[in-house]
Subunit: 175 residues, 2 copies
């Protein structure tokens, strides 16, 4: 992506384009805009990661709590963000058998009951089988471990969403 294009965006354009690289947290994109110009997409990504890391534990938990359940209510009700819908779709979560849906629903509920935030995983780096495996396994972690792993997954999701935007911006500027 031409960083010239990104660095020339005012904050409204920037938040409109990058506002959901961390799910439902436009505050984060809006905050890192302060650090422009960015020398590269990696530099922008690092700024986002550093901002997340600078938050108190409650803030990190807050980020996780802005994420929808996988194959959960938002998917059923059609209220997922476009990014989440696409990610859950690619991972095969929109075409679960009734048995898989029920298994995932029970695991999600147990996970949330234990950790007080939803199970977050970079769906595009997984499929429905590994997602169910990971959920079954991670539910046995300590809250401390699980917070750290989940924030790592938030950063992976952010990385892929940034790459998508980069492709879109590059194509648009070529037109």
């Amino acid at each position: 992506m031409e960083m010239r294009v990104v660095n020339s965006m005012n904050y409204e354009e920037f938040v409109s384009v990058f506002g959901n690289v961390v799910e439902k947290c436009p505050l984060i994109a809006a905050a890192v805009w302060t650090s422009r110009p960015f020398t590269s997409l990696c530099a922008l990504e690092k700024n986002i990661g550093d901002f997340i890391d600078s938050l108190p534990r409650s803030g990190k938990e807050g980020i996780l709590r802005c994420h929808p359940d996988l194959a959960g209510r938002d998917l059923l009700q059609g209220t997922l963000s476009p990014e989440s819908l696409s990610e859950q779709n690619r991972a095969g979560l929109t075409s679960l058998t009734a048995g898989q849906r029920s298994q995932l629903s029970e695991l999600n509920a147990s996970y949330k009951n234990r950790f007080n935030f939803p199970f977050v995983i970079c769906a595009r780096m997984n499929d429905r089988d590994t997602i169910i495996q990971q959920l079954s396994s991670r539910i046995r972690n300590s809250p401390e471990q699980e917070l750290q792993i989940s924030i790592g997954e938030v950063k992976k999701i952010c990385h892929l969403r940034l790459l998508d935007i980069s492709t879109q911006v590059s194509q648009a500027t070529k037109l």
Copy 2:
């Protein structure tokens, strides 16, 4: 409001009810849920204020950048949050003369150009005349002063939104 009701909410219910007490920043409500139980509505409000104060300068600017312009594009396009629409409506910003709209639009643009965030004011504690007066006056502040004043306004908006929710929850629990 019966704090018993609030304290019994899981994080999904809590974010669904309190997610927009700071405009487009559900992360903040989702973060302070960690500090439950709250002894009073004031205690909840103090937690929100403390979380905002704990953010780095870029984070506070990020909060401001999640706010719409007053009588701006979101109002014209019908994309304001229900809370913002109601607040801008009560302040008379939905029934400006063409001259007032044009004046406000120019002042908003100058303000954003100077401070790199939008003019934020608790519209319900003002009317269109005092809003235009305040905007004309605050534009001469230093960036440091203006950040502080604007975050104070975010907290006033949050206070009134919390009171609204409190009334709604009280009425709902009486049914």
